[in-house]
Amino acid sequence: EDIKLGVLLGFTGPIESMAVNMGAGAELAIQEVSESGALLDGSTVTPVRGDSTCIDAAAATAAAERLITSDGVKGIVGAACSGVTGAVLQNVARPNGMVMISPSATSPALSTAEDDGLFFRTPPSDARQGVVMAEILNEKGVGEVALTYTNNDYGKGLADSFQAAFEGLGGTVTIVAAHEDDKADYSAEVGALASAGGEVLVVAGYADRGGAGIVRASIDTGAFETFHFPDGMVSDATVEKFGSEVDGSAGQLPGSDSPGAEKFAEVVGDAFDPTSIFAGESYDAAALIMLAMQAAGSSDPKVYKDKVMDVANGPGEPILPGELAKGLEILAGGGEIDYVGATAVEFIGGGESAGNFREVVVQDGKFETVGYR
Amino acid sequence: MSEPFLIGDRMSGGYGQGPNILHGCTIAVDKGQIAVIVGPNGAGKSTAMKAVFGMLDVREGAVRLDGEDITALTPQDRVGKGMAFVPQTNNIFTSMTVEENLEMGAFLREDDISQTMAQVYELFPILKDKRRQAAGELSGGQRQQVAVGRALMTQPTVLMLDEPTAGVSPIVMDELFDRIIEVARTGISILMVEQNARQALEIADKGYVLVQGRNAHTGTGKDLLEDPEVRRTFLGGT
């Protein structure tokens, strides 16, 4: 059988630069499985890309509609961006009984969306990260921060939960300033942030979009020297751009002390940047779909949807990136696996990632892991 | 008799794909002479002028300048050959100043234009006062003066004017006619359409009456003025 998998990401539009590596990540997993020949008696898997545009719900639903009803995909990696993900889920996936595993839709609102057990996501909800971030800063003894967030569901959700948690711990948020991504200039935001002041600037944005613009302008004008980066900012793009200029800054991103991330980097080689945001999540999303198929012995989404949780969580043999063939074989033999993957996937109720976080600091222009929580 | 300096010979043509407006009409002017075209509204006077200037497809007939067939030339090329034209409408650059309008008239001239400019200002003193003003802000008659001035700046060999005196006051009109005679005396051919037909025919060496795209009457200015039928039907006389 030739199984088709939809890769529905924002290839054009605002997150087009992130989507490149996300697509590559998902397709890497697909290729790995396909080449192993271990899936469902030697089935091959082919990716079919669809453009979710990130912002145009109608275009995204149309693309999803095409993937499912015309290309006949058996599962969808996607969508990217919580807004269109919700629309695709309600208008296409649920009616057609299609499994969707999103590698990047982190909005807390999706936790409660009705999904008939079809929707999963590999990154944790932003609500959780906000709490973790507050704890990290609090433990470092930071009492006063300025906060800027990218004005979308990700940024806003994260900012909300962080502010609540941080203030709950006795900290002060001097200012909460939204920024729009990909705009021409961020002087206004930096001006306001600088005026409000704070020991650290928390940048809940993206490394190659508005977040970077804010950091750049902050450093240049001397407004802030230390930053705190949530997952959207912890990527090679940040250190490439700022190097040791942001030494001493810290951050966290989903991840656990499992060797998954390292292994993922190894598997990727230099095909693309393995640390770029949501690339690992995309790999995991694709892998999970195929593993669940194997576990259910069927590529029918209505059947294998119930197996996604099983393969993602223990008990069983931990499976790292590059070991998908091994996982498939164990499953074929009736064994159990605990998929760890690039991002230490662990699903909790509602089909979303439990949220293990890796804490990092910037040293000598590089992100160094300092712990996990 | 040798051929006139400029002749639109048995021209037929119309706008775009539309029907013919001109039906074999002939218009000519000799060196240093003044030819005047008169006729009812919509007769095709302006169309004939445009045909001579190449702004219209001449489907039959030919336009010849100094013996050379220029039917196929673009208006630009005709400007290069020393022809100048003042259209009936849209005949100034409204967003440019009066002085710039005049300068654009002399666009192709390489020599010093200040003297000609001075002459134009002398002819139309009001323009001198308004030379830094945008031409679009002028009164109707003043615009007309700018348009004629612009054409004079060209120092052409043939000057074509479509109703140059429409809307100008009597005093200026007299000046203008005087000036046209003067210009003609320097050897420039003048072809003009006029509704102030009596004055115009008085100074004309040659007159054409066009009706429905055809030559209805042709003769010297005097002949036409004296022709009672022409007087009654076209010149508003009684």
Binding site: - | N41, S139, V172, G237
Partner: protein, 263 residues
């Protein structure tokens, strides 16, 4: 009928109208002459509500109409034509005329949906009227032509035609004659006189053709440099030294003409 009191209109530092006061008597055909740039069109535009005056007041009857927008003036019976023709160029000549009358029931959206037959009736009447006007102006063969394709003079005729579509009280004509064939102009002159006598229209017209002015107008107002220079009967005005100096000139032809018209 119309009274303009001490009107000033300044463009930047330039005083296009500089304290002009005129009066147009009901039932008259008043002529307005003056050199180019005297401020005649500006005066018209202020009266017609196109330009706001810098200062001064305009009355229609006893009612002050200073600064009223043109469409309100239209409904008060004040119509005007433009010196530079303002036709609706992408519409046919007939449509140009048919759109003029105000208060057509078909101009209300509701009626266009639910009162089709009423509209059809009105349209038929309008069409007839428009065709009569076109015939009068000798451009009936152009009824279906796009107005933008008319010749310069034909556009002028169309301008005039529009004023004939409704019952006006006062009509301002800004150089209807410029570019119009003199024979036709005579006919237009006759029409103006007829409208004046039969329908009681008041006219105010700007013209540079002294024959025309002399034949139609009484009184004649001469403006210069934004002020009224002289007022009086056509013949008097044309003999007035100041008018001759500023406007008519001493060119033989005009002298002769002015004399002929006066005589």
């Amino acid at each position: 009928m119309i009274r303009v009191e001490n009107l000033h209109k300044h463009f930047g530092g330039f005083h296009a109208c500089d304290g002009a006061s005129i009066e147009i008597a009901e039932g008259s055909i008043t002529g307005l002459i003056g050199p180019n740039g005297a401020g005649k069109s500006t005066l018209f535009n202020v009266i017609a509500g196109v330009l706001p005056p810098t200062s001064g007041r305009v009355f229609m009857g006893d009612e002050e109409i200073t600064g009223l927008p043109p469409h309100e003036l239209f409904h008060k019976g004040l119509l005007r034509t433009f010196q530079i023709a303002h036709e609706f160029s992408s519409m046919t000549v007939r449509e140009n005329l048919m759109m003029v009358p105000g208060g057509q029931s078909g101009e209300t959206l509701w009626n266009t949906w639910f009162k089709r037959s009423l509209i059809a009736q009105e349209e038929a009447a309008l069409r007839k009227k428009a065709d009569e006007v076109l015939e009068f102006l000798t451009i009936d063969h152009l009824a279906e032509e796009k107005a933008g394709n008319l010749s310069g003079g034909q556009k002028k005729l169309l301008e005039l035609g529009r004023t004939m579509m409704v019952d006006a009280k006062i009509v301002f004509l800004d150089e209807v004659g410029a570019g119009v064939n003199r024979t036709l102009l005579r006919t237009i002159g006759d029409a103006i006189i007829r409208l004046n006598e039969e329908r009681g229209y008041t006219f105010c017209l700007i013209e540079h053709d002294m024959d025309f002015i002399g034949r139609l107008c009484d009184p004649v107002i001469c403006m210069a440099e934004g002020k009224v220079l002289a007022t009086g009967k056509a013949a008097e005005i044309m003999q007035d030294e100041r008018v001759i100096e500023a406007y008519l000139g001493t060119g033989l032809k005009n002298r002769a003409k002015a004399g002929a018209a006066a005589g």
